[in-house]
C-alpha cells in the first residue's frame, strides 16, 4: 500500500472527510470488481460496494494499523459478499452464461493471455470458469478470487479471511482441484499440442 494511502487513512481517522472521499475514489474499482467476481451480479456488487464504504466510514476507528487499510477494505467487502452469496444460494440457480448477467457489465479474459483468433475459445473458457466457480463453497470461492484473480499473497488473504495461512493454502488447493476437475476437457492437451 502506498504512503499516500496511509497518510489519507491517518487523516480520515482524525475526522477528515476529504481524505475519506479520496480513499473511496482510490478503492471503489477494486471493491466493486471483487464484489462482482464473487457475486457475478451488478446489483449485488453495487450494494456490497456501497455498504463496504459506509462500514469503513463507521469502523475506521477500529483499524490499528493504517498500513493494512487495503486488507481492512477487502475484509469488509469479502465478508459482506460472502454473506450475500450464502443468502442468495438456493434462491438463484447458477447463471449458465455470461450473457445472462444482469445489465451490460461483464467480465472479459485479458488479451494478454489470448490471441485475437482465440476470442471465441476464451469466451467459452470464461463461461466455464464462471460456472465452475459458482459451485464452490463461498469461502473457497473468495479465497480463489482473492489469490488467483486479485493476485493477493496467502498472508494477505489470511488477514482478509480472518484465518490461518494454512487454511488459505488448504482452501486454495481444494478450490483449484475442483476447478481443474470441472474444466478437465478444456484443459486437457489437444492432439498436436504435445
Amino acid at each position: 500500500m502506498t504512503e499516500e494511502t496511509t497518510r489519507l487513512v491517518l487523516l480520515f481517522q482524525k475526522g477528515d472527510r476529504q481524505a475519506f472521499t479520496k480513499l473511496v475514489e482510490a478503492f471503489r474499482r477494486k471493491v466493486y470488481g471483487l464484489a462482482f467476481r464473487i457475486l457475478l451480479n451488478h446489483i449485488d456488487a453495487d450494494e456490497v460496494a456501497q455498504e463496504t464504504f459506509v462500514r469503513i466510514y463507521n469502523r475506521i476507528g477500529q483499524l490499528k494499523s493504517p498500513e493494512h487499510f487495503d486488507s481492512f477494505v477487502y475484509r469488509i467487502a469479502t465478508n459482506y459478499a460472502i454473506d450475500m452469496l450464502r443468502k442468495r444460494r438456493g434462491r438463484i440457480v447458477a447463471m449458465s452464461s455470461e450473457s445472462e448477467l444482469p445489465g451490460s457489465v461483464q467480465m472479459t479474459l485479458s488479451s494478454r493471455v489470448a490471441s485475437p483468433e482465440k476470442v471465441l475459445e476464451n469466451k467459452q473458457l470464461l463461461e466455464a470458469i464462471t460456472k465452475a466457480a459458482e459451485e464452490l463453497p463461498p469461502r473457497q470461492k473468495a479465497t480463489l478470487i482473492l489469490h488467483d484473480i486479485e493476485g493477493l499473497s496467502k498472508e494477505e488473504v489470511a488477514r482478509i479471511m480472518g484465518c490461518p495461512e494454512a487454511t488459505v493454502r488448504s482452501n486454495l488447493h481444494i478450490a483449484r482441484s475442483k476447478m481443474k476437475k470441472k474444466l478437465e476437457k478444456l484443459f486437457s492437451p489437444k492432439k498436436g499440442d504435445v
Binding site: V24, V54, M107, D148
Partner: protein
C-alpha cells in the same frame, strides 16, 4: 527417494512457496512422472486463465455516482469515531442477551428449588404419617368420640384380606408362619 506423486504441492510450486529442497524434489519427480506433469500443466492453464480475467467495467459514470452515494449516506453520520453501528453496540447487545439468559436461569432454578422443597416437605409429611401409622396402627374413635384406641395396621389389613370360611381357607391358604385361629 520414494516414488510419491507431487500434485498436492503443485499449487505451492507454481506460487513459488516451496523451499529449494521441495522444489528440487518436485522437479525430479516431474521428470519421471507423466501423470504429475499433466496435472501441473492443467493447473498452470487454470491459474493463467484466472489471472487473465479482467474486472468488470460499469463505466466512469457508475463509479462517480457510487462515490456520491457513499458521501451522501455518510454525510448525516457524525464522524468516523461516532459510528452509527459501532462494534460496542454488538457487544452491549450481546451482554444484554447474556444478562437476560442469566436472569432466566436464576428464575428457573428458583422455581425448581421451590417445587422440590414443597414436594419434599409434602413427601416428608406423608412418609412420617405412613411411618407413624405403620408402626402403631390407625386411630379410631368410638361413637361418643371419647374412647380412643389404637388398632395395629397389620391386623386391620389382615382382617380385611384374611379368608373367613374353611372353603376360602383351602382356596387361599394362609402364608407359611401365619397363625390360624
Amino acid at each position: 527417494m520414494t516414488y510419491r506423486h507431487t500434485s498436492h504441492i503443485h499449487g505451492d510450486y507454481l506460487d513459488g512457496d516451496l523451499s529449494p529442497e521441495q522444489r528440487n524434489r518436485v522437479e525430479r519427480h516431474l521428470a519421471t512422472c507423466d501423470e504429475c506433469r499433466q496435472d501441473l500443466e492443467k493447473l498452470k492453464k487454470l491459474t493463467q486463465a484466472l489471472q487473465g480475467i479482467e474486472g468488470p467495467d460499469p463505466g466512469k459514470a457508475y463509479f462517480d455516482s457510487l462515490a456520491d452515494i457513499v458521501m451522501a449516506r455518510t454525510a448525516s453520520m457524525t464522524g468516523p469515531e461516532l459510528s452509527s453501528k459501532p462494534v460496542t453496540d454488538r457487544h452491549s447487545s450481546g451482554r444484554q442477551v447474556l444478562t437476560t439468559l442469566i436472569k432466566l436461569a436464576a428464575a428457573v432454578t428458583l422455581l425448581f428449588t421451590a417445587f422440590y422443597i414443597s414436594d419434599f416437605s409434602h413427601k416428608n409429611h406423608a412418609t412420617r404419617w405412613a411411618e407413624h401409622i405403620g408402626q402403631s396402627g390407625y386411630v379410631t374413635t368410638d361413637a361418643a368420640g371419647t374412647d380412643e384406641y389404637m388398632m395395629p395396621l397389620s391386623i386391620g389389613i389382615n382382617t380385611l384380606l384374611a379368608p373367613t370360611s374353611e372353603t376360602e381357607l383351602e382356596e387361599n391358604p394362609l402364608p407359611e408362619g401365619a397363625v390360624k385361629e
